[in-house]
């Protein structure tokens, strides 16, 4: 499967330009280096041990652009960001996708996380999905604000769900972006009974 609409050139704050494109099998090493260079404090927010080669192998093998859709942000040939959309093609959550985003320290607070998130939100809608979720630790204020700009809202709080590197328990927020209204509007448009169709 080929993803349409890529590569995308994005201008960040202060004029830095990055290219966002689908991650390919050949990007494995570059992505491994990117995750390895993240400070431990940032890596703790990730679901997997991204410094392990086993993880890299599993992750690269899972890329199919159908259920696992990763994109990378590149600056001067180096991977500086990664975002992945996960979805299921079967079962009771097949209308939902989960988005995970990671950005290199020098590129944080410049709009790269928002740009990566925007790309995947748009892609999720293009796949006909109805809802996206992200997990954010309560003290990730900038990330939370960026997600709110993309339409995500707090949906649930898992109290004391994560422990930071100092052993302090923190709340984990589940934020969601429900776009089912788009498909309801489309369903109304194709209902073939409204005399106002077409405005």
């Amino acid at each position: 499967m080929k993803l349409e609409g890529f590569p995308q050139l994005v201008s960040l704050q202060e004029g830095t330009r990055v290219v966002i494109r689908p991650m390919e099998l050949e990007d494995g090493e570059a992505v491994f280096e990117f995750f390895g260079a993240l400070p431990e404090e940032d890596r703790q927010y990730l679901r997997n041990d991204v410094t392990s080669r086993d993880w890299l192998e599993r992750f690269v093998r899972s890329i199919d652009y159908d259920t696992v859709i990763p994109v990378v942000a590149e600056h001067e040939g180096t991977v500086v960001g990664n975002a992945t959309l996960y979805r299921s093609r079967h079962g009771w959550t097949k209308h939902v996708a989960e988005i995970r985003i990671a950005v290199a320290r020098p590129f944080q607070h410049k709009g790269l996380g928002t740009a990566l998130g925007r790309v995947l939100v748009r892609h999720a809608i293009g796949l006909g999905l109805e809802k996206m979720i992200v997990h954010v630790v309560e003290n990730q204020i900038a990330a939370k604000r960026a997600l709110e700009k993309l339409g995500f809202r707090d949906e649930a709080v898992l109290k004391g769900h994560v422990k930071d590197i100092h052993g302090i328990k923190r709340n984990l927020l589940v934020m969601s972006n429900d776009v089912s209204h788009l498909w309801e509007a489309m369903a109304e448009l194709v209902a073939d009974y409204s005399p106002t169709i077409g405005g």
Partner: protein, 195 residues
């Protein structure tokens, strides 16, 4: 006057009228021709028979009703049963080939082209866009509206935020149509002008 008459038939909820509206809009607003649309639908929101009649011409259209269409687009077996015998001899039938079986009720010389539009729409992500797949198929097979005009008509007709999926559906139908035409010895009727 060189006029092409089109009928779209199916069930409420399949987007029959939107399909007709987009064809008319593409031809008139974006390809600079003239077009009219007549729509007929049942009292129920979904499942009732409905149809659209579209006329496209280079000059103003004085009579918008379509009795014997040059092109028939059908998305349900009932619509096929009802409208297929009314096709002009030598006309074009575009049909959903996993829902409709073509039989001998077609007038002489009709060229029939099938597409599994419902399945293609589901594969793209939403069954809802089957009418847009059919619209793309219509543009690809007949060339009556240009692909650019069809794109612009779709973009300006669907809810904001759903453009990407709808455009992918249009392209899928269009490419399917072009492919089926290139592998077929049949060509669209000469009364139709390429967009």
């Amino acid at each position: 006057m060189d006029k092409t008459e089109i009928r779209v038939g199916g069930l409420g909820g399949q987007g029959v009228i939107l399909c007709g509206m987009i064809i008319g809009k593409a031809a008139s607003i974006f390809d600079g021709k003239h077009a009219t649309l007549i729509q007929a639908f049942g009292p129920e929101a979904r499942g009732s028979a409905c149809s659209a009649q579209v006329s496209v011409a280079d000059e103003a259209i004085g009579y918008p009703y379509v009795k014997n269409p040059d092109v028939l687009i059908v998305m349900s077996p009932d619509a096929y049963t009802q409208f297929a015998p009314q096709l002009k001899p030598g006309g074009v039938l575009l049909y959903e080939n996993e829902l409709i079986k073509v039989d001998d009720r077609l007038p002489a010389g009709v060229k029939a082209f099938g597409i599994p539009a419902t399945r293609l729409a589901e594969e793209l992500g939403r069954k809802l866009v089957l009418n847009i797949v059919m619209t793309g198929f219509f543009a690809g097979v007949t060339g009556l509206v240009s692909s650019e005009a069809a794109e612009r008509a779709v973009k300006s007709s669907v809810p904001r935020g759903t453009e990407d999926l709808n455009l992918r559906a249009l392209h899928r139908g269009y490419e399917y149509g072009r492919q089926i035409l290139s592998t077929s010895e049949l060509e669209a009727p000469t009364t139709m002008r390429r967009g």
